[in-house]
């Protein structure tokens, strides 16, 4: 018999186990799912770099502690002006708890998920999330609230999910944790814009773990834009899990610049034929920031199309990670998948880890991937400088152009402009440094 290797638990793992024991009685519903996820955590611990999916983001080493969850303050945690888009109705989440649904017009139905879980009308283990991913498991174990949205078939709507993870003004906690789950059921033929923003405390080393599930009905069209401007010291974990019914179309963009460590996972499953996916990422990191985009696109049925375009700009000693896996199941013929990850390294010590993967089990498919990594083109810089642009301005123009292509898929002009403004802000801070 092979000897059993017993790994020592880290302080964070021990604390997570103690936390669940202490909190479980007060967690709303989904007791069986939480218990199952907890057993997996207890058995395997946090994923270290030995787990392939976490090779570049060693959660076991990065998660030093498991701070307590905190409740939102009594006042609303408002998203900042630079994040708000006036024309898009907003649902506010303070520390993961749904605080206010503003101007949400019918026919969309919005419920706090804590209540829905309590009543048993929803679970935390939707059929397509058979992931047993450790980050999703942590969310399943500890999540207290979030929202359940029902978008009726044929409707056309926009919604802003505004997450703010912060303490109130008086509190000075060094660290805290927040988690939430949002489940959005999009009816057949509905068109939905989901704008999801994440901001947070600049003072605390907090940990966030937010999961969004999107279930697209037949012919539904969803544009999902996630903006991460979380606190500089934060550990930001997030997951998008989506399922596409026949003829459904999803464009999802992860626009990421916040957090000391950020990992965004996208798990997409094709449930019906002729569905289309356009998955995008725009990442700007500097200092010693670490940002990981991990995606698994699972073509489980024939005639699916997927496009992935990820662009990363890393300055100073920042580290970008892209892990993209396209799976084409044996019967998923006529799949068309194209994946690209391009990185621009501005700092001498900046690094990018690109890992594109194709797992193809069908024989009549078109799939390709490409990954590039490099510095700005000196000849282009010289050309711009020879016209009078100082080096930093010339660099800024080229960086904006590099990231700009990713934003082209954002159809709402105001939203696209506000993302471009965030890029300009990031570059202006670089010029000022």
């Amino acid at each position: 018999m092979a000897p059993t290797v017993v790994q020592m638990r880290t302080p964070a793992e021990t604390a997570l186990i103690e936390r669940f024991e202490a909190e479980k009685a007060g967690l709303p519903g989904a007791a069986a799912e939480r218990a199952a996820a907890f057993e997996r955590l207890k058995a395997k611990g946090l994923p270290s770099k030995r787990v392939e999916a976490y090779h570049y983001t060693d959660l076991r080493a990065l998660m030093r502690q498991a701070p307590e969850a905190i409740l939102p303050p009594n006042t609303y945690l408002m998203p900042s002006d630079r994040i708000c888009i006036e024309a898009i109705p907003t649902i506010m989440f303070g520390n993961g708890k749904m605080q206010l649904a503003q101007d949400i017009a019918l026919p969309i139905s919005v419920r706090a998920i804590g209540d829905a879980l309590e009543s048993g009308s929803v679970t935390l283990n939707s059929a397509f999330v058979k992931l047993s991913d450790p980050v999703v498991d942590l969310n399943t174990i500890f999540c207290r609230d979030g929202a359940l949205l029902e978008v009726p078939g044929g409707s056309k709507l926009s919604v802003h999910l505004a997450f703010v993870d912060d303490l109130d003004e008086l509190d000075t906690k060094e660290t805290f944790s927040v988690s939430s789950r949002v489940i959005i059921n999009v009816g057949a033929g509905a068109e939905l814009l989901v704008y999801e923003s994440h901001e947070g405390s600049q003072r605390s080393r907090y940990q966030s773990n937010h999961v969004v599930e999107l279930i697209l009905g037949e012919g539904a069209k969803v544009e999902h834009i996630r903006v991460n401007t979380a606190g500089n010291e934060a550990l930001v974990l997030s997951t998008l899990a989506a399922s596409l019914a026949a003829e459904a179309e999803l464009m999802s963009l992860n626009f990421s610049m916040g957090g000391a460590v950020a990992r965004h996972q996208s798990f997409i499953t094709y449930a019906g034929e002729n569905a289309k996916l356009d998955l995008r990422g725009a990442t700007m990191i500097r200092g010693r920031q670490h940002c990981d985009n991990t995606l698994v696109v699972d073509h489980a049925v024939p005639h699916g199309t997927s496009r992935e375009l990820f662009r990363t700009v890393a300055d100073d000693e920042a580290h970008g990670v892209f892990q993209g896996k396209i799976i084409v199941r044996p019967h998923a013929q006529k799949t068309d998948g194209q994946m690209a990850s391009n990185a621009l390294l501005l700092g001498d010590e900046a690094a990018m880890s690109n890992k594109p993967e194709l797992e193809i089990f069908a024989d009549d498919v078109v799939c390709a991937h490409g990954a590039t990594c490099g510095a700005l083109e000196e000849s282009q810089l010289f050309y711009l400088m020879a016209r009078g642009l100082p080096r930093v301005e010339a660099e800024a123009l080229l960086v904006e152009a590099f990231l700009g292509e990713v934003l082209e898929a954002v159809s709402d002009e105001t939203l696209r402009d506000s993302l471009a403004m965030l890029i300009s802000e990031w570059l202006a801070a670089r010029q000022a440094a």
Partner: protein
């Protein structure tokens, strides 16, 4: 006055310019002709401030001040303009955005006020029209997918808008058919005078039929080996460079 004094230049330990001396007076159009590998493009890059080159000896003075320690953008703001032999394609940067950024950067460096958006648009449209540039091209990414002629016209448009004191035109005729050559030459001729100096670098006499220089300099092995009037260009066209290369 743009003065190049005893200029010695190396790249990767290879000597390219060997004591080149040349003066361009305000309002003067000087042509440099020379065979391949004589260092013509190196000269244009060194004047414009490309970093790959090492100046081991000599100096370049603009109105009496050395420009060797200046960055390319500072040289541009001081009044130098290089029309590239191969203008770079800049994907994702709209031509209009680029023109505005360049004009504003130079205005800022000179302590001048930026143009109002209205004045900027009028100025660009007017200059583009004279060069036969379709306004739609200005919305496209800079030089991306432009033909050789369109790229060269775009260089002359930039030259017109930036209003430099000294222009260096590096093989501006390369890749142009005769119609495009005429349009580009007309654009250049329109900028002559008013104290503006020009250095026209070319292989062939053809361009100099359209832009008639005040002076012609022959370059071989990294220095000027002969200077004369416009007639020198015709001699070269007839007899070739061989005599000069051997003499150098």
């Amino acid at each position: 006055m743009l003065e190049i004094k005893n200029l010695h230049v190396e790249i990767d330990d290879k000597k390219i310019l060997n004591g080149l001396t040349l003066t361009i007076h305000p309002g003067e159009v000087a042509a440099i002709m020379g065979p391949n590998g004589s260092g013509k493009s190196t000269l244009s890059y060194v004047i414009a401030g490309k970093e790959d080159y090492t100046v081991t000896e000599g100096d370049i003075l603009l109105n009496g001040n050395s420009i060797l320690e200046m960055e390319a953008n500072e040289r541009a703001a001081a009044g130098l303009f290089l029309a590239f032999q191969y203008p770079l394609e800049i994907p994702g940067v709209a031509t209009m955005t680029f023109l505005k950024a360049a004009m504003n950067a130079q205005a800022k460096a000179r302590g001048e006020a930026e143009l109002s958006p209205g004045d900027f648009m009028r100025k660009v449209r007017g200059a583009a029209e004279k060069l036969g540039i379709n306004p739609d091209m200005l919305k496209r990414p800079l030089n991306v997918g432009f033909s050789g002629g369109e790229k060269k016209r775009m260089e002359i448009l930039q030259m017109t808008l930036l209003d430099p004191a000294y222009c260096i035109l590096d093989e501006t005729d390369s890749g142009l058919d005769i119609d495009a050559l005429r349009i580009v030459a007309e654009g250049v001729n329109a900028l002559r005078g008013a104290g503006r100096g020009m250095l026209v670098i070319t292989h062939y006499q053809r361009l100099l039929d359209h832009i008639v220089p005040d002076k012609v300099h022959v370059m071989a092995k990294g220095r000027i080996v002969k200077s004369g009037g416009p007639e020198l260009a015709h001699e070269l066209e007839k007899d070739g460079y061989a005599n000069y290369v051997e003499a150098a």
